[in-house]
Symmetry: C2
Subunit: 199 residues, 2 copies
Amino acid sequence: MHGTIQPVSRLVEAFARLPGIGPKSAQRLTFYLLRAPVEASRELADALIQMRENVIFCSLCFNITSEDPCDACTDARRDRSIICVVEEPLDVLALERTRGYRGLYHVLHGALSPIEGIGPDDLKITPLLARLRDGTVKEVILATNPNVEGDTTAQYLTQLIRPLGISTSRIARGLPVGGDLEYADEVTLAQAMENRRMV
Amino acid sequence: MHGTIQPVSRLVEAFARLPGIGPKSAQRLTFYLLRAPVEASRELADALIQMRENVIFCSLCFNITSEDPCDACTDARRDRSIICVVEEPLDVLALERTRGYRGLYHVLHGALSPIEGIGPDDLKITPLLARLRDGTVKEVILATNPNVEGDTTAQYLTQLIRPLGISTSRIARGLPVGGDLEYADEVTLAQAMENRRMV
């Protein structure tokens, strides 16, 4: 019977290794999939492989891409004097949908959070500062989420970037406080970009 | 950029379809795996496929097995006059580890829970009653978890089984109330089986 339980235990352990999923949840998920149609497990497995095989991070802006550097970083029509800093790749997609921004991006991959133990070294901050050294960039738009972590991160980056003689702006508070950038509607997001203020 | 986001969105959606995982959690899990070593995604994907390809349910006792009927149901050395009813396949494994029980098993695949909307038709109760009809079984040990749902399920089954002239017993309260059968230590579990009382 141990031979039969092994594949089950293995999946329980694999789920339990994911953040925010404890042993009980991992077991519940495993038996849910064992009882669900086989397609549910196949789709999840295939989605996992497809993502890891086809998605990489741009070595310049750290957005998700299929080729390095990404389309945005190599697009000659984009304004290279302005960089919009966001927390996650999905935030870039949300901003692109507004069609109102034509500059470059930089994905931090998170926000500063003392509670979750996320510090500057856990974010793509050093590579951002490296991009600012050649003097091409004149303005950095801090489009981190309008919540405590996002504001803290924006303030931290402002202190690092302003001494470089580069303007920093914060995406306007057109977004609901405590909200999440990627779920904002396009008009609100476009206005928030338009109404950004120098800081 | 939509071409790049598609594999990411697909995985977010696949995670979001799992019970207890909302869109935000699904996104957090997806980006965690995107940043983690590729092995993490491969292991989870492979564990999913391996489990669904190698594990099926026994058509008699509904325990997990690689062949139907399972080893326990076909083992001639087991006492076919007694059936131990449990909630989950892992409970069978826990009882087997005690080496104190040599009867048959029946896995309900859950417990009655009005709050979660889990009723008798959601559990393997009808097939259990079918197994009791030929008069071979003399006693049914109700080894559902020692919590509200487990007790409710045991009481419900007692009302259905006793009229058939079959003894029903409840696994002894050697287990911590509110606890979970599969995590009990072997001695406690063995004693709980030994001290079962007729109900």
